[in-house]
Symmetry: C2
Subunit: 157 residues, 2 copies
């Protein structure tokens, strides 16, 4: 179900318009897919889900829209090291990219670590504080990913 606010406008449209972008069918379709999708979609994943219903929306538009969405903070862009970027609604990540990913190197399953994340956030903050002080480096962002074997794939090394 598309989330709508009291005004009948979809939740994201305010921010979108506020940044000077127009609301078009293509963009609605793309955000709709992201909203409904489980997670971690690549540009082509999105293209393939949009295409049956809107065969005239091109990959280029997908990329352009994703760029905008990243820039205005509606989605995050992740690089899991397989050569294609993945995108995920900020909403799903609870607005933090302190949200960690476990990536199975065997089946490529991606597990979100979101529960009890507070302890982890605290540890990361601790690390960042240490690094900042020691190197006089102002950290604005980070990349933290863990690779290995998921429950189903353990023992298949």
């Amino acid at each position: 179900m598309p989330r709508r606010n009291g005004m009948g406008a979809a939740w994201w449209q305010g921010k979108f318009k506020g940044c000077g972008y127009r609301i078009t069918l293509s963009r609605e379709a793309i955000i709709d897919v992201l909203t409904k999708a489980n997670k971690h979609l690549s540009a082509e994943d999105i293209y393939m889900r949009v295409h049956p219903k809107y065969p005239n929306i091109g990959l280029t538009t997908i990329y352009r829209t994703l760029d905008i969405l990243v820039n205005i903070g509606i989605i995050f862009k992740f690089d899991f090291g397989d050569g294609r970027a993945r995108y995920e609604l900020v909403e799903n990540t609870k607005g933090l990219n302190y949200h960690l990913h476990l990536i199975c190197v065997n089946c490529n399953r991606i597990i979100d670590y979101t529960d009890y994340i507070d302890d982890v956030i605290e540890l990361i903050d601790q690390i960042e504080k240490g690094l900042s002080l020691k190197y006089n480096f102002k950290i604005t962002n980070h990349t933290i990913q863990f690779y290995g074997f998921c429950k189903e794939c353990a023992g298949k090394e």
Copy 2:
């Protein structure tokens, strides 16, 4: 100082031969560059340093040799998110990729965090232990990088 063992053979040649690879001029030149280099060289960086002395060594050979070196554990391969891989001697990293990188998004300087790393390693281990237990996921590897502004670039945001 070039590391050599008692036998006069370069430090890496044993491992290299032991894995069934031949020792060639190209490979010596490439490892030599990596040994002398400050750090974090891309394939093309290496190519450009090798080329003046050995103009007949091609980029393809650089890539192939780097692949081998990664596989036998002589170098690490890093992805700093700028679209090209970087390589660094395992020796320089003290044999651990618990070695962290601070990447300046303004000047692209890469700072190694190697001092007092024990505390950080302990924190990361702690995180990994928690993740492993909770998700029954066997972690074999990770990617941890911090982005921001270095001392020289602070205030240029």
